[in-house]
Assembly symmetry: D2
Homo-oligomer: 350 residues x 4
Amino acid sequence: MLYFNCDYTEGCHPNILRRLEETNMMQTIGYGEDEICASAREKIRAACGREDIDVHFLVGGTQTNATVIAALLRSHQGALCAETGHINVHESGAVEASGHKVLALPATPDGKIDAAQVERAVLAQKNDVAFEHIVQPKLVYISQPTENGGLYSKAELTALHEVCAAHGLFLYVDGARLGYGLAAPSNDVTLADLCRLTDVFYIGGTKVGALFGEAVVFVNRKAGEDFRYHMKQRGGMLAKGRLLGIQFDELFTDGLYMKISKKAVEQALRIAAVCEQAGFPLLAKSPTNQQFVVFPDGALEELGKEYVYSYWTRVDETHSAVRLCTSWATKDENVEALCGKIRALGKAFS
Amino acid sequence: MLYFNCDYTEGCHPNILRRLEETNMMQTIGYGEDEICASAREKIRAACGREDIDVHFLVGGTQTNATVIAALLRSHQGALCAETGHINVHESGAVEASGHKVLALPATPDGKIDAAQVERAVLAQKNDVAFEHIVQPKLVYISQPTENGGLYSKAELTALHEVCAAHGLFLYVDGARLGYGLAAPSNDVTLADLCRLTDVFYIGGTKVGALFGEAVVFVNRKAGEDFRYHMKQRGGMLAKGRLLGIQFDELFTDGLYMKISKKAVEQALRIAAVCEQAGFPLLAKSPTNQQFVVFPDGALEELGKEYVYSYWTRVDETHSAVRLCTSWATKDENVEALCGKIRALGKAFS
Amino acid sequence: MLYFNCDYTEGCHPNILRRLEETNMMQTIGYGEDEICASAREKIRAACGREDIDVHFLVGGTQTNATVIAALLRSHQGALCAETGHINVHESGAVEASGHKVLALPATPDGKIDAAQVERAVLAQKNDVAFEHIVQPKLVYISQPTENGGLYSKAELTALHEVCAAHGLFLYVDGARLGYGLAAPSNDVTLADLCRLTDVFYIGGTKVGALFGEAVVFVNRKAGEDFRYHMKQRGGMLAKGRLLGIQFDELFTDGLYMKISKKAVEQALRIAAVCEQAGFPLLAKSPTNQQFVVFPDGALEELGKEYVYSYWTRVDETHSAVRLCTSWATKDENVEALCGKIRALGKAFS
Amino acid sequence: MLYFNCDYTEGCHPNILRRLEETNMMQTIGYGEDEICASAREKIRAACGREDIDVHFLVGGTQTNATVIAALLRSHQGALCAETGHINVHESGAVEASGHKVLALPATPDGKIDAAQVERAVLAQKNDVAFEHIVQPKLVYISQPTENGGLYSKAELTALHEVCAAHGLFLYVDGARLGYGLAAPSNDVTLADLCRLTDVFYIGGTKVGALFGEAVVFVNRKAGEDFRYHMKQRGGMLAKGRLLGIQFDELFTDGLYMKISKKAVEQALRIAAVCEQAGFPLLAKSPTNQQFVVFPDGALEELGKEYVYSYWTRVDETHSAVRLCTSWATKDENVEALCGKIRALGKAFS
């Protein structure tokens, strides 16, 4: 079986493994205060073009989202997000478990919300005569790229930034797949833009070359002042913190993070093109490493004999959409094999 | 100004005031373990026709909802409810503050959800390959009558009961306005039915004759075993618990609770009829003490000079819906005055 | 049986009952925004000699403590308090349920902590190399008078104020029995002092003449900015808020609050004097309405046939301490009867 | 500098690194449901001699404690533990952040509590007239070995088991350093005993050979039924779960876990013996990899020029205790160097 179901089926980029070996018997202090973490922070600051940001390393995405949101909000405040947002649907209620309501907004097919929706939600609460009986929206959570492969443009992100600034909300970007977004051909948002337009975002490692790990960037340093307490309290402060430092230090050496992201996106776009040529339409346009393709159920059954995909949603009585992912680890030969299979299915099911 | 905006604008039924005076210098133990509370519990058991239920008294509705739900759920479990449900929109995130996600379902115009929706939600989670990443629906919250004046029929309630039983969910009924529901002409659900069909429900006092107070009925006694701890922890265990006992003891003497509810509903239905006759349509049919009426904005402005209403929602560019409520305290003469005014507005704005 | 076990065995001061009746059919808006609440707030401001304070009304003490503390703290912060403090031992974990650790400090026999203890605790955390792994002390909770009858002097309170100010901690005073503290002969702390020396405190009503109710005074208005959200979220925003307004408006008319407190304290001190004369020592000196008296177990058995006391603690194999309370409602004739009984026991058990 | 301050200064045992490399490009499903995790679970079951236990893998200790405790307790219940217990002092309030009070009990110098203390605490709550106002003790948390190097004997553990069983409490053992406890010469508790005597315990990996990772063993499978939801919700479900599988699979191959633990304990005991011979007493007897040694401050200053230790506590005006740790990674040559230094200090400071 070849796995195209998600972007975390393999281990990590060989550079990281090599570095783990080289440093294995080195002695360091714990909890992310070692020199390798310091070096990784410096490289991330350099990649962002900013010296005035704080960088923290956590282990996984759900942990990062819950910790950041708990650190930013008071108990009467909630997080606006797309109804398809990860915190709303796939984190077992982690945000609510820390006491905060997720305020879900209708999303576009590719998983985005816009500034006008945010403003309407904020004003609806603010102007309600019973506003104190309603959770106060205080943070906007978006994913870049989204869970459905969508990508916010610089203009969209700027509009979100402005509405947040106007109403005193935090803007937080979940970058679990940030590399694949940055590397998308149509992308016009840089790390520097994220620093300019958000309060906090994270650079995903788990899905982009690392064994695990997410680098949280607090641009709003005041808001992140006591963040290490929250990391510890939410179980996200790794004892051997250097493991996170090692991984991000390697990913941000010689542009590795972007290089591996770019390759995965090219592979994904190739798969998408082949699907369309073969008569299998895309559920939504995605310029990233995730592709959402509609197949007749018979074709899916056939495909599933050799390829692992991620079932996404039923489209109609005889069609379903599935997710096909590439990653830093996807081999070209496997992409070719998959494309061949899809072409064959195209002929068989047209 | 005459107030028709809500059902808690006055104090309490005179019988309660009288009893407060009579018992004022009596000495009792605290926290609801006195003999007056015991008497009130007995009367509620009698009204329900059930000896095998546990009755607890709390102060207010939001407190009751948050406490019951926190007592019933484990941290990975959530509460299904109508998107218009009180816990979803008007409790400042009280349920989330105790760690639980409110799982909102689309509601009918009169604020109801049905068994099929519940089942779909339960199965969607249960059958998802990533079910452990999704909050587990474990409780269904409904209001009888709903926040929008709707009333569940015995058949609808039975269907909800069955789907809950089939999937191991608790069924919890918020009865903030239960009296007005029980007294509705079209109602076919009794207290005994509620005991048969739910795990826990509450009989609202605050809006139905009391100064304050809600009587929680645990039919599922196992689930309510440690409920008094939760009452104390959530600030709902009144030191002078007898105040709650006094109120419910009076409300459940000689059918007072039903008598005052019935009168208020009759008044509300009279107002509704006059509105329709005057050309002001109802937003949704309500057989209860709350009526939701659509007026031209000009008529509302005029009405607002003498009557306090509760603004509900914008209907179109020139019309809005408002809520008009009666209660146990509404005077017939005020109803007549309001009806006269509405008729006059009908002529002026037709 | 005559009850001396606690200070909430009766209803309320007759003035309040009268006012409830007078206002019963008056229509007001809800949630504490009515004119009676406004009047009560003004009277409390006048009693404090301060216009620049915010006053909120809640129903009970545990609710008040949990709500104030949740409103003031972020999730990595905790509340320092005496190990005998109410939040530490008698609130079913309400503070922890809102996510905060209670950091208990050893208390004096009369239930107090001092500034030096607070400073040591703060510095121990601040100076620990692993300070981020330790809950950050951010609030000091004290009760005035304490749960054990102790009273902070102005000097002690000033020292606590200074240590809190020096280290950026909030000072919060639980005044469940504040009247009885203010009225103690040895007291030198005024409401104005509390305003000068604390961030927030509450004036207890439940135990001092009201049916229920506590008036929270935010001197630190910035910290209390969004407090009404928290009140609603924690179930403490009473629908018929005017009931709280009525009670505090009456208690703060013509010095009623102080007048009834003073009488109760005099009664308690009389009981204490009689106990000592009769050979029953006090567990700790209390200048307030609560007295803690050590009796031989045989005497207690005898006493318990006619008087209800509150068992406090075992002193040795043959002696126990009990709490005897007076309140605004205690009748002089009952005090006399109790004193007579104690004298008789003194003879029998000496 | 040579590090003896803690047991997580290096990476991982070479066998794990090798396996990471071998499996790096292998494709597996995520979240711990892969075949390597399955194999590791089997090996742990075999080491425990039990087929009927559930094994889950988490990333770190604080995360594990908070997740297990949140999964086991309802909101009115708390965890009894030694006042020196990790959950009480070094987890930034993680247990409280999930809503539960840590009920601290006085500990022995080596960090233990006993069955009699537990029983007294349980009965004190149960028998209090206001028991519902007091957090219900429902779980006993102990560490084996303790944070202070103490080790529970089979008899002590059996007594704790019995008191927990008698009163319906869960017994949970934090095994962050379990290997070093199992390998202690004086130890008489086996993994099979832990299975027999506890409801749940964890086998620490982070400090015993792994890069990170703790294996939670639910003997009480009913209590652990929905544990994976809690893992996800608390951020502890690693996407590439196989990383945890790989580490425990290696640690439980050919007795590696015990072998490396044994060596570290021998080194620690050698250091302890040298300290005592050199005239530096031990703060408390520890048969494990942690040693707590009292030095004159001058000797510590000298020692600190070449060796990193963990400052523990001030003993008197001129002496302090420090912690010296060994681990699976400690080199014999470094132990020899340290022992030489201590002997030299012994001469200089006697």
